[in-house]
Symmetry: C2
Subunit: 192 residues, 2 copies
DNA sequence: AGCCTAAGTCATCAGGCGATGACATCGACT
DNA sequence: AGTCGATGTCATCGCCTGATGACTTAGGCT
């Protein structure tokens, strides 16, 4: 834009769209992020989204693919992983993926991809950990914890819960760790 | 409709709209429930919404007012109250109120009313209980638990988390009770 | 220098949304 | 019976959304 030596640059434009989209999808979720806003934040005409990605849904998939690591990440009961997820959410919003746990998108492609990624990155590692620890119904517990964490991270940025919003990453991670550990079998567990 | 003795009845129409709206707001949240769908489900022209309530937002407020009890309800750490909330969510969807914890509506009136009701019915009782039990940061903990429960109830009906959806009300209430109790101070709590 | 394709701009479309007001009709009342 | 307000129907408005294609322009190439 301000750089006179690079007035036209497809790579730069694509990257700007990806970054802007990642931010807006994280802040608002798929449905409430409009391609016009994405284009505006990227400093690019929104028609470029159709040119470079095919459409809004494909842009969303591209954002998820850009962010994805290769292997299966550690589960949220790992303290470091939880801190990382929480810090990221505090900095950048809940993340596009997490919204998909609560609201089906209006586009089937974006929906299907979100579903798979959410399970690969969050649910499955948790279920494995819980199963290894001997919890019963590990899959249901993993999905319940995922929904709970997502609820907290999204609720934190909704404005409806000010005391939750006011927590910093440390405090939030600490409290979430307490909640998460409730699903692990323990000697002092009260119900099972 | 099929009753020939009452072809026109403002009260009946109003009630039908309220019921249909309660269902659809519960299933989809405020933003994704359209007045056309509400009218269709009620068997009534959607223009009646404007006539009887003023608009979609006022209809939403009316739904919340219809459902509200008078006093402050017991908190979710009360087993019976939790069961009641869970059973209702399993039967009818998460409920219009709960959606407001995660997504601000697009209408400021609906938003403000939701916020207040959510705090009155859920957050405040929880915070009181936690404070009485000696937990620190009771308000933050109460809001965190609220967000977690709402995440679970909404996530259950999103389709993204099948094992969570498959839980019946008993199992769900049991697991949620475990999660909720994690925020109460206990002798075997690990972090505080 | 001139060309030609990649890159970017712009106007516009179709569809869905909430809202609105003109119109039709019912039915209670005098 | 006739009137008139209450009730219900319908067409349409204005707005926003994602998408599309015609058009313009930049800039590397020969």
């Amino acid at each position: 834009m301000t750089d006179p030596t690079r007035r036209r640059d497809a790579g730069r434009t694509r990257a700007a769209l990806l970054n802007a989209a990642a931010e807006l999808f994280a802040e608002r979720g798929f449905a409430h992020a409009t391609i016009r806003d994405i284009g505006e934040r990227a400093g690019v005409d929104s028609a470029m989204i159709a040119r470079y990605f095919g459409g809004k849904a494909q842009l969303y998939v591209a954002v998820l693919q850009k962010e994805q690591g290769t292997g299966e990440p550690p589960d949220l009961l790992d303290g470091e992983r939880l801190r990382h997820v929480v810090e990221r959410a505090v900095r950048q919003g809940a993340g596009p993926l997490y919204h998909s746990a609560l609201h089906a998108h209006d586009d089937p492609r974006a929906d299907e991809f979100s579903r798979r990624e959410l399970h690969r990155r969050i649910v499955t590692p948790l279920a494995r950990r819980l199963a290894a620890d001997g919890a019963d119904r590990p899959q249901a517990r993993a999905e319940l914890l995922t929904a709970a964490v997502v609820g907290v991270l999204i609720g934190r940025s909704s404005g409806t819960l000010p005391a939750l919003t006011a927590l910093d990453a440390d405090e939030l991670a600490g409290l979430l760790a307490q909640v998460l550990s409730a699903m692990e079998p323990r000697e002092c567990s009260r119900r099972f």
